[in-house]
């Protein structure tokens, strides 16, 4: 009886702990979301007396933010495209070949995940200026490819690991060349993993501050960098509005991800048995 009582108490404690953590995680987001719709021109106590879209308006009428948004969007699309190509090629090569130091090479490719981004950014800044590359967008692009590639490589590796090697062999012996076998069999089966890697990479690129802040120049800066510098100059709530929009975008991406991954589960069911 007493054992059961202890279990119940522990369960209650667990629930309380989970609740606390959720509150801790969600409160800042909720507060930010409410403040974004605050109609007052100054930072007042919560809740705001009335709601308005003035900060959104302010955000979209500010060239500084818009320029950052434009650069961020271009940068994210371009760097993700490149890092998906690089990631798929790398993962495919690494997965198919066996050679000494393979694991070490994979770790090297994934190392930007563990190296502090500030270090990556600073190192890249020095390296690129030695090479004479001083164009802001090129520098940012290099940085973003480096920080997003681990996500696309890892996602593709995971996807490829789930594909039975004999499927490729089956395609080959049925008359497909290696290239056709890749496009007919390997790629479609790894596609959902590649897509999820790309979405992660996109989110990472849109979100990055530490690397980007090192590589920006006066005319080329990303949205997160723009938000931080404007916050330091004059604090207003357009940052909250921008945050809400970024969160919405992320939420949409996660929904897409969730859908594609669960789709993968449905298709994969009962197939990859061995």
């Amino acid at each position: 009886m007493s054992g059961r009582l202890v279990d119940n108490v522990l369960r209650l404690v667990g629930l309380v702990a989970i609740g606390t953590i959720i509150c801790f995680l969600l409160t800042p987001i909720v507060v930010t979301a409410i403040m974004a719709f605050d109609s007052r021109g100054y930072l007042g106590p919560l809740p705001p007396p009335s709601l308005s879209l003035r900060w959104f308006q302010r955000f979209f009428s500010d060239d500084y933010f818009l320029r950052g948004l434009g650069v961020s969007a271009q940068l994210a699309l371009l760097s993700v495209t490149i890092s998906v190509c690089v990631g798929v090629a790398t993962a495919f090569a690494v997965e198919r070949m066996s050679f000494a130091g393979k694991e070490a090479l994979i770790s090297l490719f994934l190392s930007p995940l563990v190296v502090p981004p500030v270090v990556t950014g600073f190192a890249l800044l020095l390296f690129l200026s030695h090479l004479g590359i001083i164009d802001g967008f090129t520098r940012l692009l290099c940085g973003h490819i480096i920080i997003t590639a681990p996500y696309t490589i890892r996602a593709t590796l995971t996807g490829l690991a789930g594909i039975d090697r004999s499927l490729t062999e089956a395609a080959l012996i049925l008359g497909a060349t290696e290239r056709k076998a890749f496009w007919d069999v390997t790629f479609p089966l790894a596609r959902t993993s590649i897509v999820s890697g790309a979405i992660f990479a996109f989110a990472v690129s849109m979100d990055d501050v530490a690397v980007s802040i090192m590589l920006t120049d006066a005319k080329t800066y990303t949205l997160p960098v723009a938000l931080i510098s404007s916050m330091r100059a004059n604090f207003d709530l357009s940052i909250a509005a921008a945050s809400v929009m970024l969160m919405t975008l992320t939420a949409i991406l996660i929904l897409i991800l969730e859908k594609s991954v669960s789709l993968n589960r449905v298709i994969g069911q009962g197939v990859f048995r061995s």
């Binding site: 039975d164 004999s166 499927l167 062999e169 089956a170 395609a171 080959l172 012996i173 049925l174 008359g175 497909a176 060349t177 056709k180 007919d184 069999v185 479609p188 089966l189 298709i267 994969g268 069911q269 009962g270 197939v271 990859f272 048995r273 061995s274």
Partner: protein, 367 residues
């Protein structure tokens, strides 16, 4: 050279090494048109490597492989027109059954209209009409295997390779599909190599069996030859169940028979043409070639070998009985069909009879 003309596939002194190990070690064999040959052996005997050499996933280090008289050196798998039925079918999970079957035809550049006809024809052959739009994941193991077979046969390959075709299925389905597989392969008249470690699979599917061990061919022959006239102790013990006697040939009795004295002193009459040489030999006898009678019921036919012993176990396998008899020569197994229940009981004193003709004498090795 006449045989070379007819052979669909010809292996000559093929060697394939992985590191220092020769997975396939000077293997030579050929398969004639319409023939079904089984490569049989324990895991690691080189049969799978042989299959991969035929299909082009591996290149031989030495020797020649010819398919229909054409050298396969440097030919990629897609340049060979060989069909391979994978052990786990390897159906494309993202394609429908019809797309799977049509895949090979598409890459062999068949006209579109003919592809449709061929797919329908193949699905009729494997009795899967109406399944065209299913995905492999929605089908049972047996159905998936039939789809895989249809996909293999669709392109009319010169040679069909089956990799452990029945091993992924449960026992009951295995027997059914085994028969069906044989019928289909016979119907399309394909030349087939079956790779398996399962002797039943080999015996039931193949016209000829090639027994492999440690990368080498131990023996080639019809299932009957392999079973009744094994040429090495490995073949005798790998295929079927065997009772062994170890000893020496002591006297040639003429007419191809000899007297054999076991190490523990029993004298046996054996079929043998090798001379008295003082070397150590082993004699094997199949358990179903031994009969068992109660000792007091008198002896069997004159001229038979006789051994006395005690029944230590009677195992009822349904269709047959296994009697385990403890004799001066160790435990002897006797297998008899179950016609009217067990004829002797555990603990009884019995006499074993077997004919000299059924004894096979082999050079003793590690077995």
């Amino acid at each position: 050279m006449q045989a070379t003309q007819q052979a669909v596939i010809e292996f000559r002194n093929v060697v394939k090494r992985f590191g220092a190990v020769a997975a396939v070690d000077h293997v030579t064999f050929s398969v004639g048109a319409g023939e079904t040959v089984s490569l049989l052996g324990p895991s690691g005997c080189g049969k799978t490597t042989t299959l991969r050499l035929v299909s082009g996933f591996e290149e031989p280090d030495e020797g020649a492989i010819e398919i229909a008289g054409e050298s396969m050196v440097g030919k990629r798998p897609y340049e060979r027109n060989v069909g391979l039925l994978f052990q786990h079918y390897a159906l494309f999970p993202h394609m429908t059954v019809a797309e799977n079957v049509a895949y090979g035809l598409k890459h062999r550049c068949w006209p579109k209209a003919e592809i449709g006809d061929r797919v329908r024809e193949m699905l009729r052959l494997v009795r899967l009409q109406g399944f065209e739009n299913r995905r492999p994941g929605q089908m049972s193991g047996g159905q998936q295997q039939r789809v895989a077979l249809a996909r293999v046969l669709a392109t009319k390959p010169k040679l069909v390779l089956l990799d452990e075709p029945l091993s992924a299925l449960d026992a009951k389905l295995r027997e059914e599909l085994g028969l069906e597989l044989k019928q289909i392969l016979t119907a399309v008249g394909s030349t087939t190599i079956v790779v398996t470690h399962d002797q039943d699979e080999a015996m039931s599917l193949a016209d000829r069996i090639i027994v492999m061990n440690r990368g080498r061919i131990e023996q080639q022959g019809t299932p009957d030859e392999i079973y009744m006239q094994p040429r090495t102790a490995f073949v005798a013990s790998f295929i079927g169940r065997t009772n062994w006697f170890h000893g020496k040939i002591v006297e040639a009795a003429g007419d191809g028979f000899s007297r054999f004295a076991t190490d523990s002193g029993t004298a046996l009459a054996i079929r043998n043409s090798s001379p008295v040489d003082g070397k150590k030999w082993s004699v094997c006898i199949r358990p179903e070639r031994v009969t068992v009678t109660r000792s007091q019921d008198g002896s069997g036919k004159p001229g038979d070998n006789q051994l006395h012993g005690d029944v230590v176990d009677v195992v009822n396998m349904g269709a047959e009985f296994h009697y385990i008899v403890e004799s001066p020569e160790g435990r002897i197994m006797v297998v008899e069909p179950n016609r009217a229940g067990a004829r002797v009981q555990k603990g009884e004193r019995v006499t074993l009879h077997f004919r000299a003709e059924d004894c096979v004498v082999l050079a003793r090795d590690g077995v």
